[in-house]
Amino acid sequence: MKRTIVALMQDHPGVLHRVVSLFRRRAYNIDSLTVGTTETPGVSRMTIVVDGGDIEQVTKQLYRLIEVLKVSDVTNDPVVEREIALIKVHAPKAARAELVAMCTVFHAKTVDVGPNTMIVEVTGEPAQVDRFLDVIRPFGIKEMMRTGRISMIRGSQAHQAALEAPEDAPALALAG
């Protein structure tokens, strides 16, 4: 089953390696992974889609990483999900009108036109991007790239993490 995990982490070199290493160790295949900045400077956000079994264990192990601030499995939460795809389609003059019509239906944009090709950009839920690709595949896709999904829980609940430890955070050394 596909699971979607949202994680916040400190924006340090190597942190992506640490996160990915955990999934690799359990031999989970990552379907998509997106990283970007957030509302808090110094905090990065990842949306990870994996095809794997015991995600709870991996989630707990993600917390063991010193730079990981917060992890949520949002698979069963009401979320807004978006993905962008750029598609370079075979588009001789004769086919262009029909292609543009299809783009209009899917709210896709034409962002580049060449002698025999067009690049179109589509943004939407991953399933919607899938459908659009099905529709334009007959035209001949020369090149395609999807960003992978980003997810955000609906409503006022916020997935945030502070960079300053609260004053009351315990700091207990070894008893020895």
Binding site: H17, S21, R25, Q57, Y63, R64, L69, L172, A175
Partner: protein, 572 residues
């Protein structure tokens, strides 16, 4: 304090600020600036090991004996990769060590420079955290964080890789640094509601058990553990790494569980209705086949690492917290109760299943049995006091766990999770430095001994007089041979081992060596070694095919133990 320092000097001063008094290491190109600075800090003792693996295990031994972080140092490339085994060992056994490695200059990073290895990349899965420092201004912050991470929460190894130019450059260090790790906030106190639920479960249990592991030792919770056991009369099991956390002569101590645990302990686990695991991680050597483990038990699991709870065994009451703090709360809130018939029942099982192994002697010889050696060692250890035992990995390790009465925390030091042969001699070196007034016994096999015995030279050079090495020499990689005997129709593939004359080898290192071949020589040899004013090696030439029993065949239920070989050699 506002003077300029080189990065190397800052490292030395950072170590001193963290209370470090000794580092174990070997110099090399990329760490030379650190070694250049070292003589300026005489309060920082350096112990030159003979192999970086030895330096790493020595840091582990120091940590396990003292309860403080151990520090090892190596150069880049092969120096750093030789530390990988001890770092992995420390990771598996939650041992706080800080490994410092030199790295090639920042301009050469990633260009396959001489002796360049991506050691931070290599150690990602086996460190609690690691750092690559190429800006020397970061050094005070990094060292403060590294020691904080290594020694708090669930302890573990941290590696700091410092480029050569960062060690050489100069800066005025800013020591006014605070640990700010927003993603690292271990939970210490334990959830009150869950603690109450645990107490309720234990209170209503008819057949409760406590299983105590490594976490109790590191939290310093042995007194709280004892108080809880005595208040409730609940029998206590100690895991391999829990050995010593609960005195084994205590009426409530029942022994070790698992693959080489006693029959009555594993039976008790299979019968118990509530199992309180504190500071253990349900390793597969403890549980056997997990689906059949403790089938009637509701499990309470206290662990400071949330990712351990529910990982291997289904848990009814998870309690994330420090063992000492949680146990203290339980002692305060738990009503008194008594052991009742349950303990008597376990003791009666123990009567029925006393291990017979110590009496298995080949009919045609009067060979020295390993158990004769352990009898002698145990007697000496119990009467002398002020000692620790470091074991290696294999048959001798399990015999030590079974046949020595472990009485106090930090007296039993071994490689458990990783099972690293070659651990014992260098780890004993670290323990001997940490505890100069104690006698450190090494018990190891002839196989493991030969993996790291070059550290005898370090022991000699450093003038350490308090290490006594007992080699249980059977001329085999004994544990593998035992499996081959029991499960592979005696196909002794790759296990016969011809060693050197270990007493002569000791002599070559400038240490006395003693050979023991008969039962009568055992006690005298131990006494001579103990009283001799130098480190000593004893070569106990024991029966070659003695076995560790009981044994749970790998992957099987702990209910199915073999208590003797299918065709016992003799039982006279």
């Amino acid at each position: 304090m506002s003077e300029e320092r080189t990065g190397a000097q800052i490292i030395c001063e950072a170590l001193l600020r963290e209370g470090v008094d000794v580092v174990f290491g070997i110099p090399g190109g990329a760490i030379m600036p650190f070694y250049h600075a070292l003589p300026e800090y005489p309060e920082l003792r350096h112990i030159l090991c003979r192999h970086e693996q030895g330096a790493g295990h020595a840091a582990e031994g120091y940590a396990r004996a003292s309860g403080r972080a151990g520090v090892c140092v190596a150069t880049s490339g092969p120096g750093a990769t030789n530390l990988v085994t001890p770092i992995a060992d420390a990771w598996m056994d939650s041992t706080p060590i800080v490994a410092i490695t030199g790295q090639v200059s920042s301009l050469a990073l990633g260009k396959d420079a001489f002796q360049e290895t991506d050691i931070t990349g290599i150690t990602v899965p086996i460190t609690k955290h690691n750092y690559l420092v190429n800006d020397l201004s970061d050094l005070p912050q990094v060292f403060k964080e590294a020691f904080h991470i290594a020694t708090t929460g669930r302890p573990g190894p941290v590696l700091i890789d410092v480029t050569k130019d960062a060690q050489q450059a100069r800066v005025v260090p800013d020591w006014d640094v605070k640990v700010n790790l927003p993603g690292y906030r271990p939970t210490y106190t334990g959830n009150r509601r869950q603690i109450r639920e645990a107490i309720q479960l234990l209170q209503n249990a008819e057949k409760p058990l406590i299983m105590a592991g490594n976490g109790v030792i590191w939290s310093g919770g042995h007194q709280e553990l004892r108080a809880l056991a005595e208040r409730t009369g609940i029998p206590v099991i100690t895991t391999l790494h829990g050995k010593g956390v609960f005195p084994e002569d205590h009426p409530l101590s029942i022994g070790m569980p698992g693959m080489h645990g006693w029959v009555h302990v594993n039976r008790a686990i299979q019968e118990c209705d509530v199992l309180l695991n504190v500071g253990g991680r349900f390793d597969d050597r403890v549980t056997g086949k997990t689906s059949t483990f403790a089938p009637n038990a509701q499990v309470i699991h206290i662990d400071i690492d949330p990712s351990e709870i529910g990982k291997n065994i289904k848990t009814k009451v998870p309690i994330v917290g420090d063992a000492q703090i949680v146990l203290q709360t339980m002692v305060e809130e738990m009503p008194e109760r008594t052991a009742g018939d349950w303990l008597a029942h376990i003791r009666s099982m123990q009567e029925k299943h006393q291990p017979r192994q110590r009496y298995l002697r080949r009919p045609d010889t009067a060979a020295l049995m390993p158990h004769d050696v352990y009898d002698g060692l145990n007697m000496a250890l119990q009467s002398r006091g002020a000692c620790k035992v470091v074991t290696d990995v294999g048959q001798h390790q399990m015999w030590a766990a079974q046949l020595i009465d472990w009485m106090s925390p930090r007296t039993h030091i071994t490689s458990g999770g990783a099972g690293t042969m070659g651990f014992s001699v260098p780890a004993a070196l670290g323990a001997a430095v940490a505890c100069p007034n104690e006698t450190i016994w090494v018990i190891c096999g002839d196989g493991g001994f030969q993996m790291t015995n070059q550290e005898l030279a370090t022991i000699k050079q450093e003038g350490l007089h308090n290490i006594k090495v007992a080699i249980i020499n059977n001329g085999y990689l004994g544990m593998v041979r035992q499996w081959q005997e029991l499960f592979e129709n005696r196909r002794y593939s790759g296990t016969p081992l011809t060693g050197p004359d270990f007493a002569l080898l000791a002599k070559a290192y400038g240490l006395p060596g003693i050979v023991v071949e008969t039962v009568e020589q055992v006690d005298e040899a131990i006494k001579r070694a103990w009283d001799y004013d130098d480190s000593v090696v004893i070569d106990f030439r024991v029966e070659r095919e003695a076995n560790v029993f009981p044994i749970v065949p790998q992957g099987q239920s702990i209910a199915d133990m073999l208590t003797e070989a299918p065709e016992p050699v003799s039982a006279s």
